[in-house]
């Protein structure tokens, strides 16, 4: 209810510490990007990253991240969420050399993490959807997340991550989500971050 009132009287809303959620499928680079921002502007990273899917299994956040770009400032609460998936199989983790018991524990935590990420959706002021630009953008999980943000009228920025990979295709991402701004970056190599910050400032203006 408060959220609706805030939206109705948006002009009076204090735009400091806006909650920006990082959403997307597993292994798209949400935590890598969140780490890059937090490290640059607070000196501390947010969470660990790994090639094993579902490394982030709890919502993690950093308050009061003050970002300065081209003479403008804003303060954000960065909310990094577990990757959303429709299936979790502990056997998938065994291939990465994880012991069976640990893989089962990881799978259990991952399912709970997905539920937690979904519950946080309602609480976001704006969302950065992080996708792997070398993967097919038309997965139902991506469309379901975007559909829910559209229904909730939450502003969205699509980040096409991993542009350093040979199979990366930012144009395909733009074609899949023509109504949203799409920025191609590499969080791992910190490529195109100027364009990302331009888009992030524009995103917060739409809140």
């Amino acid at each position: 209810m408060l959220k609706i009132l805030y939206r109705l009287f948006g002009v009076f809303k204090k735009k400091d510490n806006l909650k920006i959620g990082f959403y997307g499928p597993p292994n798209a680079g949400k935590t890598s990007l969140a780490n890059l921002l937090c490290k640059d502007w607070t000196g501390e990273e947010l969470g660990s990253v790994s090639e094993v899917p579902h490394e982030t299994r709890h919502v993690q956040f950093k308050e009061k991240v003050e970002i300065e770009h081209k003479g403008k400032k804003m303060v954000l609460k960065i909310v990094d969420t577990p990757g959303i998936a429709t299936k979790i199989d502990y056997e998938d983790f065994l291939g990465y050399g994880i012991a069976k018991q640990d893989a089962k524990k990881r799978a259990k935590e991952a399912t709970q993490g997905i539920i937690e990420a979904i519950k946080w959706l309602d609480d976001m002021d704006a969302v950065v959807i992080v996708l792997d630009s070398s993967e097919n953008p038309y997965s139902q999980v991506n469309l379901t997340i975007i559909g829910n943000l559209l229904a909730r009228k939450i502003p969205v920025l699509v980040v096409a991550n991993k542009i350093d990979l040979r199979k990366s295709n930012v144009k395909k991402m733009e074609a899949a989500f023509p109504e949203y701004p799409v920025v191609g970056i590499s969080a791992r190599k910190a490529t195109n971050m100027n364009e990302f910050y331009d888009a992030l400032f524009k995103l917060t203006k739409r809140v």
Binding site: I84, K87, I88, A107, T111, I114, I115, I118, L143, E179
Partner: protein, 130 residues
């Protein structure tokens, strides 16, 4: 359904669900009905599409079940749209506006992840791998 040694499927069970079957149900009842069929190892082909909040609830409840049922690994989900020319956002907006998504001309395929290996999707086609 059983898988023979040569990996060919035997007795794949598909449930065709007209939208009228879930029209009068609440979101909780709809998701429960679909998940009950999936837990019975059936692939559900639903006339129309679920609303975004129903899709996300389906994922949420699926995860709760994966957590509690040892052999259940989750679902594969995809929506096939009849009108390729109309963009995703227009369809989604119309769906949200109408609140009744059974008349959208779409088909939704939902299957248990251990039966449906993968649903590959792009705007013009869909491939289901068993």
């Amino acid at each position: 359904m059983r898988v023979k040694k040569n990996n060919k499927l035997k007795g794949l069970s598909i449930h065709i669900m007209p939208y009228s079957e879930i029209r009068e149900l609440t979101i909780t009842e709809r998701v429960k009905k679909i998940l009950n069929l999936i837990l019975g190892n059936r692939v559900v082909i639903l006339q129309g599409r679920l609303r975004p909040e129903e899709e996300i609830r389906l994922i949420e409840d699926t995860m709760a079940m994966v957590d509690h049922i040892k052999t259940f690994k989750g679902i594969e989900l995809a929506v096939v749209d009849s009108n390729k020319e109309e963009g995703f956002f227009l369809k989604m907006r119309r769906g949200i506006a109408r609140g009744l998504t059974g008349e959208s001309g779409s088909l939704t395929v939902i299957g248990p992840a251990n039966v449906v290996k993968e649903i590959k999707k792009d705007p013009s086609k869909i491939e289901v791998f068993f």
